[in-house]
């Protein structure tokens, strides 16, 4: 149905015109934003920030100023509770630079130019384990917020392959075969990173990148085995030929991170990506994204159970 709206918008665009307006939007409420995650074999990492008024400045410094320092955080795996320590981008524990850079969407080199603090623990006992449920507790300015997430049993893709699209011979989608477990809820997320290098010797993708709509559940294919494909989210840059847009090139090496998540996290993700794809669309209900955090915080406490596989783009 999303296409219906897109098509209708296309009609509107034909007739309509758009202009910027300044209008009173009442009801701004300053809220804490918790952006935390834990996945199999990785430490928990949490960024704390504050929401910003819709008309607030959007420059980089204002954004970084919104991060909260001095909060108390713990993560419990049900038997043991671990304190998280505050780490800043200019004082990161050795070995965590790449993880933090990926979380922020910047390169390790750029990380040095950013002053930002997050919370983590490098105690291997709190690194994510399959089947465990993790509780995050955040205390800030006298308010306490909690979130619960589970690292569920992963479902690896049973096959990954590349095939040229249509009449093309050198470009195509990344295809996969999924055997969905029957009689249970399964929520999935697809991310990809090209690890071959460009002519300068730099990685084509510095981190895992999500496609336009990276999450889906098994509502319509519970227990089925089927093939599906994803596009190359970096394949729409300027200079890419129209026929080859969104496709992987022959010879690309792509690492696929195929994660599973619990139902609450999936609900957050589904609504998040719906909001991203329909923001500004008058035909979608304006929706605040539900999350798994108590205490009125925005954001999410996310537990992922990834399976990682590598696709070499060859017929």
């Amino acid at each position: 149905m999303k296409n219906t709206f897109i098509l209708f918008c296309a009609i509107l665009i034909t007739f309509s015109c758009t202009k910027e307006v300044v209008i009173d939007i009442p009801g701004f409420e300053d809220q804490l934003v918790i952006d935390g995650s834990i996945e199999t074999g990785q430490p928990p990492f949490v960024l704390i920030s504050r929401s910003k008024d819709i008309y607030a400045p959007t420059d980089l410094q204002a954004f970084f100023n919104s991060f909260v320092s001095g909060a108390q955080l713990t993560v419990s795996d049900g038997t043991t509770t671990f304190d998280l320590i505050e780490v800043c981008s200019n004082n990161l524990p050795p070995g965590s630079e790449a993880t933090v850079a990926a979380l922020l969407g910047v390169s390790v080199a750029e990380l040095a130019n950013i002053q930002i603090c997050g919370y983590t623990s490098l105690d291997p006992l709190i690194f994510g384990q399959i089947g465990k449920t993790y509780t995050l507790t955040v205390t800030n300015e006298g308010e306490t917020y909690t979130g619960v997430t589970e690292i569920v049993e992963p479902t690896p893709l049973s096959n990954l392959y590349w095939k040229p699209d249509g009449d093309l011979t050198t470009h195509g989608y990344a295809w996969a075969t999924l055997s969905d477990p029957a009689n249970q809820f399964d929520g999935y997320k697809w991310e990809a990173q090209r690890i071959n290098t460009d002519i300068n010797g730099d990685l084509l993708d510095v981190s895992f990148i999500e496609p336009f709509s990276p999450v889906f559940d098994d509502q319509f294919f519970d227990g089925l085995t089927f093939d599906f494909f994803y596009d190359n989210p970096q394949g729409y840059e300027d200079g890419v030929l129209e026929d080859e847009a969104g496709l992987y090139a022959l010879g690309d090496t792509v690492v696929i991170k195929f994660s599973k998540m619990d139902r609450n996290l999936y609900e957050f993700m589904e609504k998040k990506y719906t909001q991203l794809s329909t923001a500004g669309n008058p035909f979608a209900t304006p929706t605040n994204i539900p999350n798994n955090l108590s205490g009125g915080a925005l954001g999410v406490w996310a537990g992922y159970s990834p399976s990682i596989d590598t696709l070499i783009c060859q017929p």
């Binding site: 701004f28 409420e29 952006d35 920030s49």
Partner: protein, 798 residues
Amino acid sequence: MKLFYSILFLLLCLSASAQDNYTLSGYVTNAQDGETMIGVKVFIPSIQKGAITNNYGFYSLTVPKGVYFVEFRVGGQETETKELDISKDLRFDFEIGSNFQNIEEVVVDGKAEDNVKSTKLGQIELDIDDVKKLPAFMGEVDIIKTIQLLPGVSSAAEGGQGFYVRGGGPDQNLVLLDEAVVYNAAHLFGFFSVFNADAVKSVNLIKGGMPANFGGRMSSVLEVNMNEGNKKRLAVKGGIGAISSRLTVEGPLKKDKGSFIVSARRTYIDVIMKAAIPESSPFSGSSYFFYDMNAKLNYTLGKKDKIFLSGYYGKDEFSFGNTDDNFQVDMPWGNGIAALRWNHIFNSKLFMNVTSTVTDYQFSFISAQDEFRFILNSGIRDFGGKIDFTYFPNTRHKVKFGLDYINHTFTPVSVSAENDETVFDTGTAQKLKSHESAAYVLDEFDLTENIRFNAGLRYSMFQHVGPFTRFIPGDISTPDSSITYNKGDIIQFYHGIEPRISMRWSLPDNSSIKAGYSFNYQYVHLTSLSAVSLPTDIWYPTTNLAKPQRGWQTSLGYFKNFLNNKLETSVEVYYKGMDNLIEYKEGALPGDNINNNTDNLLVFGKGWSYGIEFFIKKTAGKFTGWAGYTLSKTDRLFADINDGNPYPAKYDRRHDLSIVGMYTLNKRWVFSAAFIYATGNTLTLPTSWYVQNQDLLFNYGARNSTRMAPYHRLDISATWYGKEYKDKTDLETGEIIQVKKKLKTNIAFSIYNVYNRSNPYFLYVDNDGDFLAGDFEIKVKQVTLFPIIPSVTWNFEF
């Protein structure tokens, strides 16, 4: 049966008091084309008694024995008088207009005095000829857009067909075409009405004080009656406009006995698109058009019986293709409606109408990309029957009673999807079956010379029946489950009494005070995920989860006419309460309907609306028109929306002003203008933003807490009429004489949005740029749909 016997007893009592009187009754028809005439006043000045022809042109007037001069009055202006000896029950069918100079100039609406004399409260009848003279958007004469110019009625959005009456939702309007329900009254995503004005005879809007013979909706009744067809001669009329053309053919089946009318319309937007999009373009397969057809037959079987068969079929066809992406979408939707009616006159006092109807509304969405194929269907099919009696026991009473039944089959969402050889599990199509029925009785009676009541009771029932599968969603610890009901199982039964009463107290100075109370149940709901009406909105019946909507309205009005009824004025105040209103849960998505019951996604609440309406209308003279102003407030309260706090409805309008004027300069030129001012619609915009995993997300504020800029617009039109007469030389005398032309033409020029106001259609928050690059911006943007749009339409008739 107890109710039926009670009604019979009541009727016998009423008749008993009238045995020394005799009844004058019959049909009133138009002398020019034989069409029955609605709203003609049959009046006997000497005893100050009168009656008005009903929707079928029938009247009945019981008076003491005597010889009377009886007036047949049209439009409060033209009157024909007949001397009649009423010494026994007299059937007198009258062709009106044969003595008038020019029947075409007679306004068919004969209810000038009705404004103050009738018990009608919150009712307005549109004159189709007036509608045709008003400015038309893209040249398309539109009944619904004219309705939106009346006080208490507002539009959903610019160009939209959804209309909101006194704070009610668009699903709370009962739209009837020849007594058959129309579920989707719009073409082109709501920009044009399905009613072809050439095929329409009368339009009546009831926005308050709904009589007991109507039910099933809470807010209003929009009653549209089709023309019956010219009984005198074959006639053709049509028009060629900017985006569509139409043609109507009508004529006698047998002169003065029966007639037919067929009226069709088609847009040629697809032809324009085809010319505009080159064949080499990947979008060359994209197109849009709509068409509709009205047809009606009627035949008089004898003095006592008439039958009518009317039908409507209309469809929108939207296609979008992109061969580059191997992507194709086809989206057809439309209504099919048929009504078979039988009028029978048992005697001069008892009139019966039996109607059977079929209504079918279907919407499909078919998309394909590469190996993936997705089909969605949604629809509703009704089979209905009703029997209505009108009984005229004496001049003080007019009694109506009847039965109503509809068999509903709803298909809210039926989906199939496949990818190459994999067929996805989208479940079986959910069909919901139900029976809706009602019995009613009402009496419009004079308590005293000055006080008249219209009191009625309606008893309605609704059964949701099997087969049906109730899905019970699970959670983390409980798996999904379901309950299956077999064919004929009664899943839920609702019933209730709906009292309706209105009264008129006549005051000496051609004015009156009216008051009314009505209570309604509504058993069908329209569920919408969008801010405007779209064909993707889903009709859903009452179930064991979705309870019937309930509404009650009280209103009070003061009505006064001036200048011998040429100037009508009124002030009405109202309060409306609504219960069991429905909305989707916050965060519900269209796909959530699949493999699920739609009512699992709904939340329930209540609403209220109150306001005051001022109306002034000039009905005769060179300058005619009206002005209406409404001051109102409409709120909603849902426990699961907006944290349980009340919030304004999206169509809450504090101020709504419409001014409509028509000026007939001479026989060749008519000018008209319409001005609208309305408080801006409410909407929900983000109040803040935050970042999660590098994505910028919005957090929305209170529901409908932002208000758009006010809406105002001026439309004007000028209609030029070709000469009615041509010069001809009399062969015998050699003199130049004037002969009426067979072909009559006019050209209607319209300008929509004369001063090119950028009215807000919707607002959205746009973000653009890159945080890390430092060029990130968040802006609020307003989309305006229609700038100034001129149009021209050529109309002809012969």
